[in-house]
């Protein structure tokens, strides 16, 4: 009996709140409402984006020892970290889409990594090596499916002058264009060690 009364009371509150929200304001001007809503929107949206972008920073990526002690060390030896022109591709440049929709999808999927962090899935070098091939295959599949979208944020065949490349690169890029290959088809291991146990299928 008492429980039923409580439920009825709560339903009453919600109904009243809903009515209040739908009631035209008698004291606040429309301009005030608009300005307040607009400002709140900016603050909320800005705050949300700031938090999302914070998770795209270098510092965030290597704040976990799993990344700092493994892939980061390898990446520091590659051309995407240090090169003639000083252009650096950060972790997120390759691993997080730039456009909002794909970025949000990637971020939601990446939230699973928090579970891995808590469970210590790759918290030692040995565990990391044991998982490296599986993790790499996930990322290769993602890049292949998107036609190497993140690579193409900076690189593109339409802006590529193969005539100034080394013969080896020239041939490979001309063949790739002819055959409709995508960057990751050939450039696995461009920024990290290739995993042990890769098969010929991984190179297809």
């Amino acid at each position: 009996m008492a429980g039923s009364e409580k439920t009825t009371r709560e339903a009453g509150r919600l109904t009243r709140l809903w009515r209040w929200l739908r009631r035209p304001s008698g004291t606040i001007t429309v301009l005030t409402l608009l300005v307040t809503g607009f400002a709140s929107g900016i603050i909320f949206w800005g705050g949300f984006n700031t938090v999302v972008e914070a998770t795209n920073t270098f510092e965030f990526c290597i704040s976990c020892h799993e990344m700092r002690d493994n892939v980061y060390v390898e990446y520091k030896e590659t051309i995407h970290y240090s090169n003639r022109t000083g252009v650096r591709a950060l972790c997120s440049d390759c691993h997080v889409p730039k456009d909002w929709t794909h970025k949000m999808i990637r971020k939601v999927k990446a939230s699973r990594e928090l579970y891995g962090k808590v469970m210590g899935t790759i918290d030692t070098p040995e565990k990391f090596e044991a998982q490296r091939l599986r993790l790499a295959r996930n990322e290769w599949a993602r890049m292949k499916a998107s036609d190497s979208r993140e690579c193409r944020n900076c690189h593109g065949f339409d802006g590529m002058d193969t005539e100034v490349q080394k013969p080896r690169a020239k041939r490979a890029h001309e063949m790739a264009q002819r055959d409709g290959d995508t960057c990751i088809d050939c450039h696995k291991g461009i920024a990290h060690k290739k995993p042990e146990g890769m098969t010929d299928e991984d190179e297809e």
């Binding site: 013969p167 080896r168 063949m175």
Partner: protein, 289 residues
């Protein structure tokens, strides 16, 4: 019986001598030279070449690209990486030459093929002499377009990870071979070698490397003038079992290697795969003189 054998031997020797005497080398000053750099290959057997996770070019190979198509202009850099142990060489030899530029000329006279190789002797690394008898050897191989990989990678079609002197070799007797190789089936390389100690080799590589049995080689002469070597092969266009019979108008796969500084086994300098044409357009054209 013994007299008959002696007579047969004498006649045979006379015929060979007559053939060699008949062979008139071309005027080399009129034969165009192709510059080919041989380089130190480290331990890069065809199993490595064709493994995509190790060698990015395996993908291009599967599409029919040749080794030379991608690497011809960078072989000296590749040799430097391997000679120094930076890549594919677990036991680098201090002072080992990274690469040797070689001038290659070829001609024919309707009966014989003439090939001349000239290069400057690189500095000696010293150390152990793998082959104490021969300071230098130059081997060349010909293949009649029957082995698919020979068209792409030349001699690499005979180079395997389990061959002697390779890091993982278990059998000291295991030498070059062709996968599914067979002289009767036509899948073999004709192998000729000049040795600084004298006796040349006319053999082949099929199921295994055979350093005898060929009957095409008439002579292989080499000499050093100053610090430069000149080696000339004179080979009949025709040949017997294990020799590639060369025909005018056709091209053949071709590669060569120099065992410099008393080297043995894989510690040689090798060329990428090329083609040689008998009166036919190829990387090296052995035109009639």
């Amino acid at each position: 019986m013994r007299r008959n054998q002696s007579m047969a031997l004498a006649i045979g020797l006379a015929l060979v001598a007559a053939g060699a005497a008949h062979a008139a080398p071309p005027d080399w000053s009129k034969v165009p030279a192709k510059q080919i750099t041989v380089f130190y290959p480290g331990a890069s057997p065809m199993e490595w070449i064709t493994k995509g996770s190790e060698h990015g070019g395996a993908r291009a190979l599967r599409k029919g690209e040749t080794c030379a198509g991608c690497h011809e202009e960078e072989v000296a850099d590749m040799g430097a990486k391997m000679a120094s142990g930076q890549k594919l060489e677990p036991t680098p030899i201090a002072g080992k030459a990274a690469a040797i530029p070689v001038s290659v000329q070829a001609a024919n006279d309707g009966e014989n093929l003439y090939l001349r190789f000239q290069w400057k002797q690189p500095g000696s690394a010293g150390g152990a002499k793998g082959d104490p008898e021969n300071q230098v050897k130059l081997a060349m191989m010909l293949e009649d377009n029957k082995i698919e990989f020979a068209s792409l990678g030349g001699c690499w079609a005979t180079c395997h990870q389990e061959s002697r002197t390779m890091p993982d070799a278990k059998d000291d007797k295991k030498t070059k071979y062709v996968v599914d190789g067979s002289v009767d089936g036509g899948k073999y390389f004709d192998l000729l070698q000049w040795r600084s100690s004298g006796k040349p080799v006319d053999g082949h590589v099929a199921e295994a490397r055979v350093m005898e049995g060929g009957s095409a080689l008439l002579s292989a002469d080499g000499q050093k003038e100053g610090d430069s070597w000149t080696v000339v092969f004179t080979r009949k266009l025709t040949g017997g079992k294990g020799d590639v019979a060369l025909q005018s108008g056709k091209t053949y796969n071709f590669g060569f290697a120099i065992h410099d500084d008393h080297a043995i086994g894989r510690f040689h300098h090798v060329s990428l795969g090329y083609t040689i044409g008998i009166d036919a357009k190829a990387d090296i054209n052995a035109a009639k003189q």
